[in-house]
């Protein structure tokens, strides 16, 4: 899709240029995943495989309902099942559809060294442009959610595209289309926030006083949001980060070390050049050869 949508890029990896900025009127989109309505049927997983033509290799039973056991280059979304006991000892079966969160401030894009390999469209979707990907794995280090996976076959990074190809022509993502309970919704981000508000109110009335929306401010919000019954403890849901943000290590590397280093290297070269034109080369003088000869002759005379 890359070339057809290049004017829709608002962020481009590894570029010092301003991305196209004329188109500013597009609605921000979001996918809302309501964990309280999910029944764990995995229709979303099947739909994702079907639309994107993905077929992961047959795995092994790992003693859990998670199947396959993890995201991979050909598994872009995955139901994660958690059995947790609340304070009263009541068992809860929490199911979360894992996948790219499409951060407003994407760590993968910040870390990526390949120009145009990761882009963000004006509607908020973060997409990997495979032809530009060099397979370095920096996006894996940049991501606060442990999402991208590098293929061993073609050395390119893969993750959920939020069905950017479908969304571009006015369709909803495949997982949304397939969900039988309405646990996955898609639309303008503001609409999804409103809808989430209604759901949270309903959950609170049913005793989930900590119900809330997961739209983490640490990454300036996400374009995939969750309604959680326990929004105070996101990590209960198969380790969903409580306060995700781009790691300070990644920020230091990309925002401080990178520009300062290029400056430092340039200054070092300049320092050498100016030393050359001020002090000049250090050349052996005639008297050095004479002194050396005298020393050698003195030694020969002594022996």
């Amino acid at each position: 899709m890359s070339d057809l949508m290049s004017q829709n890029y608002i962020r481009i990896s590894a570029t010092t240029l301003t991305p196209p900025s004329t188109r500013r009127h597009e609605d921000q989109v979001a996918k809302l995943i309501d964990t309280s309505r999910c029944i764990g049927c995995k229709a979303c997983q099947s739909a994702c495989m079907e639309w994107n033509n993905l077929r992961p290799e047959m795995g092994r039973f790992e003693g859990s309902y998670d199947n396959p056991s993890d995201l991979s280059p050909s598994v872009w979304t995955l139901m994660r099942f958690s059995e947790v006991e609340d304070e009263k000892g009541k068992l809860e079966w929490l199911i979360r559809k894992d996948g790219c969160m499409h951060c407003e401030d994407p760590g993968c894009l910040k870390a990526c060294p390949a120009p145009g390999a990761i882009v963000q469209y004006a509607n908020g979707i973060v997409d990997f442009i495979s032809e530009n990907c060099i397979g370095c794995g920096y996006c894996v280090k940049g991501c606060p959610f442990d999402i991208p996976r590098i293929s061993k076959a073609d050395h390119k990074s893969y993750k959920c595209t939020l069905c950017s190809d479908r969304v571009a022509v006015g369709l909803e993502p495949a997982c949304v289309k397939a969900c039988p309970t309405g646990a996955i919704m898609f639309g303008a981000k503001t609409d999804m926030q409103d809808w989430a508000g209604e759901r949270i109110e309903d959950l609170k009335s049913r005793g989930f006083e900590n119900a809330g929306l997961y739209d983490p401010p640490g990454v300036s919000g996400t374009h995939v949001m969750y309604v959680l019954h326990h929004a105070d403890q996101p990590s209960k849901y198969a380790g969903l980060p409580d306060r995700p943000r781009i790691s300070p290590t990644v920020r230091l590397w990309k925002s401080v070390v990178k520009p300062l280093s290029v400056l430092g290297i340039g200054l070092a070269v300049l320092a050498g050049f100016f030393h050359w034109i001020v002090a000049g080369p250090n050349e052996v003088q005639h008297e050095d050869e004479t002194n050396a000869d005298e020393l050698i002759k003195a030694k020969e005379k002594a022996t």
Binding site: G135, G272, H275, E289, L295
Partner: protein, 222 residues
């Protein structure tokens, strides 16, 4: 190699081959590494084919450099040991930089600046190699945790920048001190060069009647 009569051997053939393998690897690593470091330098990846080739080649070149550098350490660590004289030389560094070397303490085979380059690289090369292994996505991608890899990539870039700065110093010094490049290409220096820059080394060679590079070296003809 034909060398003028009366000249001294500064670096043996083995050392020179070893040095230039290391140097070639280092230049290739700087070019490929910088292309993945700053967007403005991504064009350097074209020298290796494209970004994928650059990413694939960089760790292998690094492995060759590491092995090659170990060879240099084995050959020259002893003559790079820090001595009290090196402090005195460092104190007079301003005179050295200004090309006014009268009164600067005499130096042996290597001066304090050369020793600094040697020990900096001896520290940085293993740091770069080990952190590079951690972030070698193809083989080591899932061996360590993501926070470890984040730290490794940060240390790798800091160490790389330090190594590049040391390397710029090294290359400039070779250009600045005339006769040094020939010492590492053809391997010889004139007695006057040795007198001017490494007088203590020169005195020892004359005393021992050796043509260099060390007093122990035995030559067929003299």
């Amino acid at each position: 190699m034909t060398r003028p009569r009366g000249t001294l051997i500064r670096h043996s053939t083995v050392t020179r081959i070893n040095h230039w393998i290391t140097a070639l690897c280092f230049v290739l690593l700087v070019l490929s590494g910088l292309s993945m470091f700053h967007p403005m330098l991504f064009f350097l990846s074209q020298l290796f084919g494209d970004g994928q080739w650059t990413r694939a080649a960089h760790p292998w070149i690094g492995t060759v450099l590491f092995i090659s550098y170990v060879g240099l350490v084995v050959q020259s660590w002893r003559e790079n040991l820090w001595t009290r004289d090196d402090f005195a030389w460092m104190m007079a560094i301003d005179r050295v930089i200004a090309n006014k070397e009268e009164g600067v303490p005499e130096v042996g085979r290597f001066n304090a600046g050369q020793k600094f380059v040697f020990w900096s690289m001896t520290l940085l090369v293993p740091v770069l190699f080990s952190t590079g292994l951690v972030i070698w996505e193809v083989y080591m991608g899932s061996v360590t945790s993501i926070p470890t890899q984040r730290m490794a990539v940060l240390i790798h870039s800091l160490a790389a920048i330090a190594a590049i700065l040391v390397w710029i110093t090294h290359v400039y010094a070779a250009i600045w001190i005339r006769g040094s490049v020939r010492a590492m290409t053809q391997g010889y220096v004139t007695p006057g060069w040795a007198w001017r820059h490494h007088r203590k080394w020169f005195r020892r060679l004359v005393q021992a009647g050796s043509r260099g590079p060390t007093v122990e070296t035995r030559h067929e003809t003299r």
